[in-house]
């Protein structure tokens, strides 16, 4: 058996292979593996239906956030249309399931592909647009998609929404939170695996090169437009994939949730999690989802106990306030996000008591 690697006390890399490793140490690999086993064995058993629901939502959001991170964090193209792409995926999944009677395991990836295609179409402006102008073009995409979803009634049934059939996988009908837990988290692991590995290939390096200096990247022979489109496609595929699973999980969908607010929320997940960090996206998704749930719970408490009965109180202002403050404080105090916080915590444990 080869020697196990533990934490080196410095950067002792000697070859390019070492730069490419995902886990710096065997300890990290073991830790991730163990926590995955715990996740699958323990979590569905001990959590109640509500907690499991929240965890599932976190899983779905994580998939979509990873997709956005590939586009924003790695390729440097700021998109404000991710929420709409998520919606496209949800609707594509729903339409595949209801109109074409496609089984669950085909419908979800197909929805991802359709979204990838749409994403590429809205990525076309990136041929000539850069920075803020591109951001606004994706904002336009957001509004155009929203409009189409509401008004193309023959396909999407407009504001009526679509009710999806039950998902079945290999003859087993997937019902309830627990079944979906396994589906969602297996997909999340798969998608994380793919994302981490894309970043280690020439494609991933090309993305990073475009982010850091697109002109230099072009000079190095990277066809930047093709790669930008590819980044849009991959990112939208993730959004669509997540959207389709979400649609199945929710059973009925309407056009309402896929608004600009959702896009902003995804962007917030990526930033709060840490840009250009896959694990960070999962942290960010967890943080924002939990924050949303806590705020909802808080408002419920206030409403029921009647502390603020006299005041005309609804969730909207408090939610807006808390959401805004979270983003602002994060950007002001830890712009590199939760992933950085996590790194600092880890290394301070590792280096304790001699912190240098």
């Amino acid at each position: 058996m080869r020697k196990l690697h533990f934490h080196p006390c410095g950067n002792f890399r000697e070859g390019y292979e070492q730069e490419l490793t995902i886990y710096e140490t065997d300890f990290g690999r073991t830790a991730v593996f163990l926590s995955l086993v715990l996740l699958f064995a323990l979590v569905p058993v001990i959590s109640g239906p509500y907690v499991l629901y929240v965890i599932n939502i976190i899983g779905i959001a994580s998939i979509a956030a990873i997709g956005l991170n590939i586009l924003v964090g790695y390729t440097g193209q700021i998109s404000l249309g991710h929420g709409a792409f998520f919606g496209v995926g949800a609707y594509a999944g729903a339409i595949f399931a209801t109109a074409l009677h496609v089984p669950f395991w085909v419908a979800v990836p197909c929805a991802g592909l359709v979204t990838a295609l749409i994403g590429m179409i809205f990525g076309i402006p990136s041929v000539r647009l850069k920075g803020l102008y591109l951001t606004i073009a994706t904002l336009a995409g957001q509004f155009i998609i929203e409009y189409v979803l509401v008004h193309w009634e023959t396909l999407t049934k407009g504001t009526m929404g679509i009710v999806l059939p039950k998902a079945t996988l290999f003859g087993i009908s997937l019902e309830g939170d627990r079944a979906f837990f396994y589906i969602i988290f297996l997909s999340l692991i798969l998608m994380t695996y793919i994302a981490v590995n894309i970043m280690r290939t020439r494609y991933g390096r090309a993305f990073v090169a475009i982010r850091d200096n697109d002109q230099a990247a072009e000079g190095m022979g990277i066809p930047i437009f093709r790669y930008k489109l590819l980044a849009f496609a991959i990112s939208s595929f993730y959004a669509g994939f997540a959207g389709a699973i979400w649609a199945y999980y929710m059973i009925s969908i309407t056009t309402e949730p896929f608004n600009l607010g959702l896009s902003v929320e995804y962007l917030a997940m990526v930033i709060i999690g840490g840009m250009g960090n896959i694990a960070g996206s999962i942290f960010g998704a967890t943080f924002i989802t939990v924050l949303n749930e806590i705020l909802r719970w808080l408002t419920d408490v206030f409403m029921n106990t009647g502390i603020l009965q006299g005041v005309e109180l609804s969730i909207a202002p408090i939610r807006e306030l808390a959401f805004g403050f979270t983003i602002v404080l994060f950007i002001l105090f830890e712009p590199r996000g939760l992933a950085e916080v996590w790194r600092i915590i880890r290394s301070s444990f590792r280096l304790w008591p001699f912190s240098y």
Binding site: I136, L321, A322, G324, T326, V328, I331, P335
Partner: protein
């Protein structure tokens, strides 16, 4: 025919309003290259401060107007000081996200204070300001929005082209280190541009409030309308903001009048995408001079 002309007039006046709102936006962008997602909230803040002063404090209109402008000026100053200054030099996306966060905070605050209801100002504009041409009627608010729009356009145009302070602002947007090395007070430039932008936003908020009534959600969504306007005109062009505003205003009223009201909000964006494909820096925006 009359319908067409009436639409034209409405489009132009709304366009001037959008242009006015966009001008503040361009102001911020020109000096600090910040895309302000909280602009709609600044509009709303202006409208609400004015509302409170007029209906609750019962101040005379003119005094209320002046106090509102001063208030928004200070507000812009404070925002820059508290939130934007620590971010000088950080990548674009953080700054964008910060303004998104600010937008949320302001929206939440305003909802807490004033709630989500629709308010209207007491009728105070003199009726003789309206212009009657045959069957076409231009209400006083529209006249005012056109006049103020033109006024600020020329004011800002001169400011940026000829005044020293304006040139310093442009130099900071262009190359911060170089302007620091020449002794330009970069912090003052940022603070000033935010303050002026907030002031202009507050004023457009008041006028919009007179036309559509005052509601947190409606006014802050105008902030999003500003995007197609400024991008069309070019992010850094004051004149472009007015032209972009006119184009978007006309597009909106005409699609609303002839096609369907539901298309009103999307058509600007569709046109925007196509124009951007032909002219990536908007109609009047500066083409980026890149040298590696």
């Amino acid at each position: 025919m009359d319908f067409l002309i009436q639409l034209l007039v409405n489009g132009i006046s709304i366009g001037f309003l959008y242009g006015l709102a966009a001008m503040g936006f361009v102001m911020i962008f020109k000096s600090s290259s910040v895309l302000n997602f909280a602009h709609g909230e600044l509009l709303a803040a202006g409208a609400f401060i004015f509302l409170t002063l007029v209906t609750w404090a019962k101040l005379p209109i003119f005094l209320a107007f002046v106090i509102t402008l001063a208030g928004t000026f200070v507000l812009g100053f404070v925002i820059e000081r508290l939130f934007l200054r620590p971010l000088i030099g950080e990548p674009l996306i953080y700054v964008i996200m910060l303004t998104v966060g600010l937008a949320s905070i302001f929206k939440g605050l305003m909802l807490l204070i004033w709630g989500g209801n629709l308010y209207i100002y007491p009728d105070f504009l003199p009726a003789h300001l309206s212009i009657q041409m045959g069957s076409i009627n231009i209400p006083p608010v529209y006249v005012i929005s056109i006049v103020i729009g033109l006024l600020f356009l020329t004011l800002f145009g001169f400011f940026f082209k000829f005044s020293s302070q304006g040139i310093y602002m442009r130099s900071v947007a262009d190359n911060q280190t170089a302007s620091l090395s020449l002794g330009v007070n970069v912090r003052r430039v940022f603070a000033l541009s935010w303050a002026i932008a907030a002031l202009v936003a507050g004023m457009s908020g008041i006028i919009l409030g007179i036309i559509n009534g005052i509601n947190v959600h409606d006014l802050s969504s105008v902030g999003l309308k500003v995007f197609p306007v400024v991008i069309l005109g070019g992010l850094d062009s004051i004149g472009g903001a007015i032209v972009g505003g006119l184009i978007i205003g006309l597009l909106e009223t005409f699609t609303g009048g002839y096609l369907s009201p539901s298309l009103r909000d999307v058509v600007p964006y569709i046109v925007l995408v196509f124009i951007l494909l032909v002219r990536p820096y908007g109609l009047f925006g500066l083409v980026e001079i890149e040298r590696v």
